[in-house]
């Protein structure tokens, strides 16, 4: 009787563990893809910001760069440059009007534009972006996915993946519209 109870308890534990493990995998992201961590992005040298188009210059103090690397510390062949809008508004009166910010750029190791994200990263009020990158070729992720957590009434959505077009040397999205619901994993 005691043995049966112990066996039942172990089975139950294994089932719960398996369920939690599976749910965790689903919550964490996509197999083979890394999630961009905004805490690992660093301020971009103002000299480089000034080399970008004029719409960026005003926000030079709030522009950060996020390396797209497979391992920390590796030299990045591609990066994402974005305005940290919340930090910008942190320096302004609370009733400051929303401005038209430049969309985040995907740049190569010479800071040349090779793509663009569809919304501000990491936050485009009231939405927050999760960016995943993977499918590596020659040190470049060939696919970048953008999932959007949207607290407003329409709910979460995602965009078609940005796929690396090696002939053109740019990341391209098949269709630019929002796709509501959750991306298949």
């Amino acid at each position: 009787m005691l043995k049966a109870h112990r066996c039942y308890a172990i089975c139950l534990f294994l089932m719960v563990a398996a369920f939690l493990l599976t749910s965790n995998v689903h919550c964490e992201g996509y197999k083979g893809f890394l999630k961009l961590n905004p805490d690992e992005c660093v301020p971009l040298d103002k000299k480089i910001v000034l080399q970008l188009s004029a719409e960026w210059h005003k926000y030079a103090d709030f522009v950060k760069i996020c390396a797209l690397t497979q391992k920390k510390g590796q030299p990045a062949k591609g990066s994402i440059i974005s305005v940290w809008v919340e930090e910008y508004y942190g320096t302004l009166p609370s009733d400051a009007m929303w401005e038209k910010f430049p969309l985040p750029l995907i740049v190569d190791d010479h800071f040349q534009k090779i793509g663009q994200l569809p919304e501000l990263y990491p936050m485009d009020q009231p939405r927050e972006l999760d960016v995943y990158y993977g499918k590596w070729q020659l040190g470049m992720p060939t696919e970048i996915m953008v999932d959007v957590h949207n607290p407003a009434v329409s709910g979460d959505y995602y965009y078609d993946s940005l796929i690396w077009n090696k002939d053109r040397g740019t990341y391209e999205m098949k269709s630019e519209g929002e796709r509501y619901g959750r991306r298949k994993r």
């Binding site: 919340e86 508004y89 609370s94 009733d95 400051a96 009007m97 929303w98 936050m123 009020q125 009231p126 939405r127 927050e128 957590h149 949207n150 607290p151 407003a152 009434v153 329409s154 709910g155 929002e178 509501y180 619901g181």
Partner: protein, 172 residues
């Protein structure tokens, strides 16, 4: 502007009751307001209501530029955007001059409070929601933009004014 025949007061009162009674269901809140004008109106989920409004002779499409002016004359206007297969959202245009969207606090994913920066100028809204987004809860203090919180999404929202049978019973 004088409130001839108490139309504006009627609309405000209906919105106020709807906001209090049905604070967590946009379709019920909007249904309550409509039923003050059209007692035979049956409750419908937001997606179905939008389909109903877009096909009923008792409702006519109205341009976004006219919303504030018409609502301030006491005209009942319902706005909405359907979402398939998910739930759409509906609201009532609240009387009063346009104001900036945003300007209220919200919480981000990590629970940190931030200010939704003000932007643009939009008509006021009576809106309720089962979700936690503060932009979708308005008793004339937020705008028709705030429920959706995104320009490209708001562009898809459609509005209809109540014209009733076209003779008696309508409000225009």
């Amino acid at each position: 502007m004088a409130d001839e025949n108490g139309k504006v007061e009627k609309l405000k009162r209906a919105c106020g009751h709807a906001f209090v009674i049905y604070g967590h269901s946009c379709s019920h809140a909007v249904w309550y307001v409509i039923s003050q004008y059209e007692p035979s109106q049956k409750w419908m989920a937001a997606n179905d209501l939008i389909t109903n409004l877009s096909t009923s002779p008792k409702w006519k499409p109205v341009d976004q530029r006219e919303l504030s002016m018409l609502a301030s004359q006491g005209v009942l206007i319902v706005g909405g955007l359907n979402k398939v297969p998910a739930h759409g959202h509906v609201l009532v245009v609240y009387p009063g001059p346009q104001k900036s969207a945003g300007g209220y606090n919200a919480k981000d994913d990590a629970g940190k409070i931030y200010k939704v920066q003000p932007r643009g100028s939009y008509p006021l809204a009576m809106s309720t929601s089962s979700g936690g987004w503060p932009g979708a809860r308005s008793y004339g203090d937020k705008t028709v933009w705030d429920s959706w919180g995104k320009d490209t999404e708001f562009k898809k929202v459609r509005f209809w004014k109540y014209v009733g049978s076209g003779t008696a019973g309508g409000n225009v």
